[in-house]
């Protein structure tokens, strides 16, 4: 007797295209449908048509609003009344705090004590109770555990939470709806929430599109993981990309390993150059983490790839501390 085991997309991964579509319905009218911008100079430099999905214009200034709102709005009233909590290097903190404020429930946020001041202030502005801790994953985890135990608040994991993954996938969903004929989509990888949601949405709607990740060389755990075929942790990250310091999670890795065509890494110098170029040429503000895929598409290595004309780039966020610019 033969047992045939059928893995559907839905069952195999933490989030399905149906989850992304449901998230899109929850987000509609609450978040922004962000614009897709183009720029002739950038196109010339990249040798291709680039389509920038501007999540720096999203609520709280980053795509993280999508996952945060999806995960917070999906809670039943009993759970919600005790509040929500999370740890985050910045934008996810803002997303959860903002979503909680909109739902009228408390939020408790654990942040590393080296988070940019602009992000700390924004979280405070959304009425969250902030607990600072050492900037290590271990310190963040244990501090969060204590807070969750004490308050009964629901933990909204920054990237491994399936509702967060589904929420982040809505950016690619909108991008694909707006721009026909994308040959590839590229996005940065930190914990992998955005990239895995992007994989689910893109390969359901555009099965033949290529999917690329971008990482700073100083936090290249996903690159190394994909190369070795097993999830490797990020130890001692060293990069200006403060949103990309964390390791992958089981749920995101599980999706990424099956869907990504490649991950490209770039130096901080390349990131800063790309960031400055976007500021000067497009007159929009993006943060360093957000500039990684821009640096990739401008690299000789990426430009040498054949058979791709139209590239979607998810510009992830614009929360920069203007007092501490790298140029």
């Amino acid at each position: 007797m033969m047992v045939v085991c059928l893995h559907t997309l839905m069952g195999k991964y933490a989030a399905s295209i149906d989850d992304v579509r449901s998230a899109a319905k929850r987000i509609k009218g609450v978040g922004h449908r962000t614009p897709v911008l183009t720029n002739n100079t950038l196109n010339q430099m990249a040798g291709r048509n680039l389509f920038f999905k501007c999540e720096n214009f999203q609520k709280i200034g980053a795509f993280k609003f999508r996952g945060g709102w999806n995960a917070v709005s999906i809670l039943d009233d009993d759970e919600a009344s005790k509040g929500v909590c999370t740890h985050s290097s910045g934008n996810h903190a803002q997303a959860v705090a903002y979503a909680a404020m909109m739902r009228g429930i408390p939020s408790y946020i654990v942040m590393p004590n080296n988070a940019p001041e602009v992000k700390l202030n924004a979280v405070k502005g959304y009425k969250a109770e902030i607990t600072l801790c050492e900037p290590t994953l271990e310190a963040r985890r244990t501090t969060l555990e204590k807070i969750a135990k004490k308050t009964g608040a629901t933990v909204i994991h920054p990237f491994n939470n399936p509702d967060v993954i589904a929420g982040q996938g809505t950016a690619a969903l909108e991008l694909i709806e707006d721009i026909e004929d994308l040959d590839a989509i590229i996005a940065p990888i930190g914990g992998g929430g955005l990239m895995s949601g992007t994989c689910v949405a893109t390969h359901s709607l555009l099965p033949n599109a290529k999917l690329y990740g971008a990482e700073p060389k100083g936090a290249d755990d996903a690159y190394r993981s994909l190369k070795e075929g097993r999830m490797l942790p990020q130890e001692n990250p060293d990069t200006i990309c403060d949103g990309l310091l964390t390791s992958l999670g089981e749920n995101t890795w599980n999706i990424l390993k099956d869907h990504l065509d490649a991950i490209y890494t770039v130096t901080d110098d390349e990131v800063i150059k790309a960031m400055r170029l976007i500021w000067e040429r497009m007159k929009i503000i993006i943060e360093p983490s957000c500039a990684t895929p821009v640096a990739v598409v401008l690299s000789d290595q990426f430009k040498a790839l054949e058979g791709m004309e139209n590239i979607g780039i998810i510009l992830t966020g614009g929360n920069v501390d203007l007092s501490k610019l790298p140029f």
Copy 2:
């Protein structure tokens, strides 16, 4: 016998609404129809609905493209073949150089030797021949005269040229087409080209709308002129707003004196604060000159005005030297 003298809008001023409409046709498909953005935080701070016409996203990064292109594209082939020339503290220089490059004719640009490097480089990039001079109006004028005489190039005055005024008016034309029920429009005043074009377009389409000018206190010639009822020159300007240093011209003053409801002045500190606020909250890059009307609408004096809900603000440009930020 009685002689009745009828001044029509068309005859009395250097540019009419028909001129603005013709300019709009020339600009369509060549320049960008720039977006109109809104922001909840800014609305709350201003106590009104603000509609930002984003000319920082225009070709060359500023509204000046409109006037420059209108004036260059309108030349007949004989005139055009000898090229065009102008003096400008920056954005008009880029506009004329870019327009000339697009038309395939030479351009000769006189720039003050204290112009931001980013603007100098951009003009060079558009293949213009640059002549630097002392940063005084007198030096700019005499240098330009010499060049025009030597080359036979047509002088495109930065603001007093009627075709430039008509071109600049197309920003307000688009804004009014996009946003219904504007109660007022506010824009910065340097030489008055943008503001006078805005006056012509706005009062033809929205006769009851209020029209406000914004100036830095360190270059408040238009404010003083309107107060005294006669055109006063700007001597020794002292402000961070490098696009607003010049005096008015006869043609712009002639329009402004009849149409403006008021001019408000702001300090450089208020300008820098407003600029930073737009960067942080809207994630878009605007230059100091561009922040003057933002500073005005956030001032207590302006907020105390009654009977206005919807204010259009022309964000004039985003050409900033990122190495020399004021914060």
